[in-house]
């Protein structure tokens, strides 16, 4: 079955009882549950998994984990799957990507022969001239060669992505011995802990260790899993650390989502990622069969896969030595065990589909199919860099170490030094205790500093000093490059030769070199290649590694799907109490800001005509409504509106316009005086939230001495506009306690009364439609009853509900402008035609100096009503008004509709002041290029400019 599968290994993670069938490039294979895609294929003897990006070189397993740059595959319709970490599932259709036409024969491999044209900066040098070829040739060819899998637009089998928020006291990044120790100690100290491990199981390097390691692992994992204060997330990666320990965790293979983004606010962050094994630079170092020591140990001990038959091992550390023991136990012949500490070396590997001959440092050539490299470690300091640290290179230990960390970020484990398993656990425990102490003290501080928060439980924990004994920095040879040149960046195909060349061309700082050669810019993002790149540069420039520095590590540490970033949308949608009724009666939905509203019920023109002829009702609940109470409301109104408010009697309603402090029209609406110290203000639907916040701003920060209480009642009161010549007749049947006669209740007045048996309704006579109309504000719990009573009682009067579109037709006929539609972010008060409404002699009003300046100008555009000379042509909103046959812009159409009442097209528009006089001819440039004439009207109102209908 699996030719390379070994007998049972003590720490193996495969379930040999299971057999999972899958395909690789169309051919059938099997593996076990617990296998990764890569381990199952390796067990079946597959050597070549991919072609490299630029030179299309054959590539095989190198690290056998999530970071392996050679193991990107397509699984069904999912591209760029990491075969080194993705668990095998029965039925997977796995194929190689980045190959054309196939893995065995790839046309692009000819690029190796022309490699000198693809060297450093080839993007900048090769495809520049002639420019026209970019479109016709370069782009098409480059796309064929571009790495990456195929996206299938038509399928969406990846499911819905999700998001979650979390607030752990301590978040531990890394579930190895130190990370587990930290989690246990922090939980014992009373902290809530989130432990994040990017492999599918806890344990780190203990998982592929010896019997003692496995025993320690079992104890630690049991302690972690049994502690109720620890939440364990495996197959999850901490991808970023931001201000105030805002931490992004990417949870893969969650039961309900393919990826879930967890946004965690942690009191303390413990960084315990261990170390990443570093490749070694020599000729042929990317040949399939060249693996890092960790890869062969994982293959042998986790998945019982024999990685080869005849091995050359180059070791510079105890882990490399352990690989020799593991290989021998797996029955692999050790052809040569080279000790890098004694100066032994590998110069070149020959072979294309698999390692064949190995040229050693002493000049011998040996035959082998496996080369194992254990020459050093890279400290993945990403999270520390994101916390502001600049790690420092230590030449003795041949790696970087943390330098200066903020109090709420602590490091432990291999990233801080070397130690026995017991020492690593102990350092982790001490770090966890300290992290918990800082987090709990911080939490206590915050609770006691806040008036309304829960009071802190018990006394504040005593501050602990950092008394941790540092882990040793065991000396390690600086092994970066052999005497030959080879690959530095495996995902971008950048060799040490390319880096030397870039340096000679003057790109000799690490950041410049990165951008010129694209080294560290591939999917590995520097995890395997950053330090080797710095080492090659240091060697070329004869400088110290310390002075070369590294490129900056930025988030995310591991790639995140765009789907996970988008996640689930938490935006609420607001519905009036009548929205269900609207939908049950065929309303076409309109999304307006946060609200869903009825656009129309089938025929907006008929609905509009019915308002002019009979009576209609519309749900205008989204209209912003603010209940204002207190002795100083008048002062507030004087401040925020451009017009006067001192002489508004109880029972009266007044229209007002607001401008912002920069003089730009910001909102409008009517405000009624319900009692001596009680007003109801309405705002535009879209401005409701902003105006509420603005009133609070001025009341809280500018005039805290004023006594005004603002309550938003937008949703609490359902607003129904009853409009049309027969609306009074209708309301007479339903309203009690209010005299509706024109003399007792004239235009722009407000009354309170009972409507359809519902007491305390607010009724005001206003008119956006230009008809006789009353706006009824009903407590929302009774809204449906009032709405249905109006319809039932108005049946013989021809009542029809109408929607937003009909209202827009009607208001345009009447010439009422809409803030934000007929005005924009530059429209100052004089442009909106406010005329005498604005009182410049008030002592204080918003934007007063800007208003004074605006009214002194003569060049501001003016809002006017326009009728096209051809009554059938309705220009589009935003069509330009131009100067005759030229393209000089003199204005634009802001609103346009076919008027059912007049049977002709009607518009509002902003025009140059030279065109604002009634009777001026304007040229409107239509979208199809035609130019038509229009005439500026005397009044904004196309219908009933005298207001006879609304005042009836």
């Amino acid at each position: 079955m699996n030719p390379n599968r070994l007998p049972v290994r003590p720490g193996e993670v495969i379930d040999r009882e299971t057999s999972l069938a899958f395909t690789w490039n169309g051919r059938p294979h099997t593996g076990h549950r617990g296998d990764t895609i890569a381990s199952a294929l390796a067990a079946d003897g597959v050597d070549v998994f991919a072609r490299s990006m630029k030179y299309k070189r054959r590539r095989g397993i190198m690290t056998a984990d999530h970071w392996d740059p050679n193991l990107f595959v397509q699984v069904g319709d999912e591209p760029n799957v990491r075969a080194g970490s993705r668990r095998l599932v029965a039925g997977m259709e796995v194929s190689a990507q980045n190959v054309w036409p196939n893995l065995r024969f790839d046309i692009g491999a000819a690029n190796q022969l022309v490699g000198r044209f693809l060297s450093s900066g080839f993007y900048y040098k090769t495809f520049m001239r002639p420019k026209w070829l970019w479109h016709h040739l370069y782009q098409k060819v480059l796309r064929k060669f571009a790495p990456g899998g195929r996206i299938h637009w038509e399928t969406s089998t990846h499911g819905a992505y999700d998001k979650r928020y979390a607030h752990p006291d301590v978040l531990v990044a890394g579930g190895g011995p130190a990370g587990m120790g930290a989690a246990i100690a922090a939980a014992e100290a009373g902290a809530s802990v989130m432990l994040v491990e990017h492999e599918p199981d806890l344990g780190g390097h203990l998982r592929w260790g010896d019997a003692d390691d496995l025993a320690v692992l079992a104890d630690l994992a049991a302690a972690v899993e049994s502690h109720p204060g620890i939440e364990v997330l495996v197959d999850s990666t901490v991808t970023g650390r931001y201000d105030h320990n805002w931490i992004a965790v990417m949870q893969r293979s969650h039961e309900i989502a393919p990826e879930r983004l967890i946004k965690a606010r942690a009191g303390s962050l413990v960084v315990a990622p261990g170390l990443i094994e570093r490749p070694y630079v020599f000729a042929g170092n990317d040949t399939p069969g060249v693996m890092l020591s960790g890869a062969v140990r994982r293959l042998i001990n986790l998945w019982a896969v024999r990685p080869g038959t005849r091995a050359v091992v180059l070791s510079a550390n105890p882990e490399g030595d352990a690989a020799i023991a593991d290989l021998e136990a797996a029955g692999v012949e050790i052809v040569a065990a080279l000790d890098a500490r004694a100066g032994e070396d590998i110069v070149e590997v020959e072979g294309r589909g698999r390692v064949g001959n190995v040229v050693l440092g002493d000049g011998r050539t040996v035959s082998a199919d496996l080369v194992v490299i254990g020459t050093g470690w890279t400290a993945p300091t990403s999270l520390l860099n994101m916390a502001g640290d600049r790690p420092v290179y230590d030449p003795t230990a041949a790696r970087y170490f943390p330098n200066q960390l903020p109090d709420d970020v602590l490091a432990t484990g291999g990233i801080t030094g070397n130690g026995t398993t017991a020492e690593l656990v102990e350092h982790g425990r001490a770090t966890g205790t300290l992290a918990a102490n800082r987090a709990l003290r911080n939490r206590h501080d915050r609770r006691s500093s806040t008036a309304r928060a829960r009071s802190p439980e018990g006394p504040i924990p005593e501050s602990l000093h950092d008394t941790r004994a540092s882990l040793a920095r065991t000396p390690h040879p600086e092994c970066y490059r052999s005497s030959s040149h080879g690959m530095v960046d495996f995902s971008e195909d950048v060799s040490s030769k390319d880096l030397v060349q870039a340096s000679r061309e003057g790109f000799d700082s690490i950041e410049l070199m990165k951008r010129y050669t694209t080294v560290t810019m591939g999917p590995s993002q520097g995890k395997l290649e950053t330090v080797n790149a710095a080492a090659v540069l240091a060697e070329t420039r004869s400088m110290d590694m310390v002075d070369i520095g590294t490129t900056v590590w930025r988030p995310p540490f591991a790639p995140i799907s765009l789907g996970a970033l988008a996640g689930r949308i938490f935006e609420p949608i607001r519905r009036s109490a009548l929205q269900d009724w609207h939908e049950d009666h065929g309303a076409s939905p309109l999304l307006a800001g946060q609200w869903v509203r009825p656009d129309h019920y089938g025929d907006p023109v008929a609905e509009a005509r019915n308002v002019r002829e009979n009576v209609g009702i519309i749900d205008v609940t989204p209209l912003g409504k603010l209940d204002l109470r207190g002795p100083d409301v008048t002062k507030l109104l004087e401040l925020v509106y451009v017009n006067r408010w001192q002489k508004l009697d109880v029972g009266r309603v007044r229209y007002g316009t607001m401008v912002a402090e920069d003089g730009v029209v910001s909102d409008d609406g009517v405000t009624g005086r319900l009692g001596e110290d009680h007003y109801l203000m309405t705002t535009t639907s879209s401005g409701a939230g902003a105006i509420w916040e603005m009133l609070e701003d001025y009341l809280q920060t500018y005039r805290p001495d004023w006594n005004v209480h603002v309550t938003a009642v937008t949703g609490g009161l359902t607003s129904i506009n009853v409009a049309g010549p027969r609306c009074r007749e209708l309301l007479l049947r339903l309203v009690e306690g209010v005299d509706l006669s024109p003399d007792a209740f004239p235009y722009f007045h407000v009354r309170r009364g009972t409507v359809a048996g519902v007491p305390d309704c607010i009724i005001w006579r206003i008119g956006f439609t230009g008809e006789l109309s009353y706006e009824v504000h009903v407590p929302s719990g009774h809204a449906l009853h009032v709405w249905e009573s109006l319809l039932a009682n108005g049946e013989d009067l021809g009542i029809m509900p109408f929607g937003v579109e009909s209202q827009r037709i009607l208001r345009l006929e009447k010439g009422h402008y809409i803030v934000g539609q007929d005005t924009d972010g530059l429209t100052k008060a004089p442009s909106a035609g406010l005329g005498g409404l604005v009182k410049l002699d008030k002592p204080d009003t918003l934007g007063l100096p800007e208003l004074r300046a605006a009214y002194a100008r003569t060049d501001l555009p003016i809002l006017v009503a326009i009728q096209t000379d051809d009554p059938e042509v309705v220009p589009m909103e935003a069509d330009q008004i131009v100067d005759g046959d030229s393209n000089r812009i003199l204005g634009r159409i802001t609103s346009s509709r076919m008027s059912p009442t007049l049977g002709r097209s009607v518009c509002l528009g902003q025009v140059d002041p030279s065109l604002a006089a009634a009777g001026s001819k304007v040229t409107i440039l239509l979208i199809d290029g035609r130019r038509i004439l229009g005439t500026v009207q005397e009044h904004h109102a196309h219908v009933d400019p005298e207001g006879v209908r609304q005042n009836a």
Binding site: W246, S449, T450, P704
Partner: protein, 82 residues
Amino acid sequence: MIVVNCPHCGPRNSSDLRPCGEVTTRPDPATASLSEWRTYLYLRENPAGWVTETWYCRSGCRRYFTIERNTATNETRSSEAS
């Protein structure tokens, strides 16, 4: 995303609040010249360091309050609630 300590609601994600920028003083509009007014509207000190700024607790208590924030480090500390 930084944490802002609302004096009434406690520590909150800044996305729960609205930043209103540096605290400014509104000149008397009756007497302010246009240039004084526009300085108030548009010009800010914007130092790399400590600044007193207004925040609005839009998802909580709906109070406007001031805090001091170091624009270089995003450290925050309390100031008097306004």
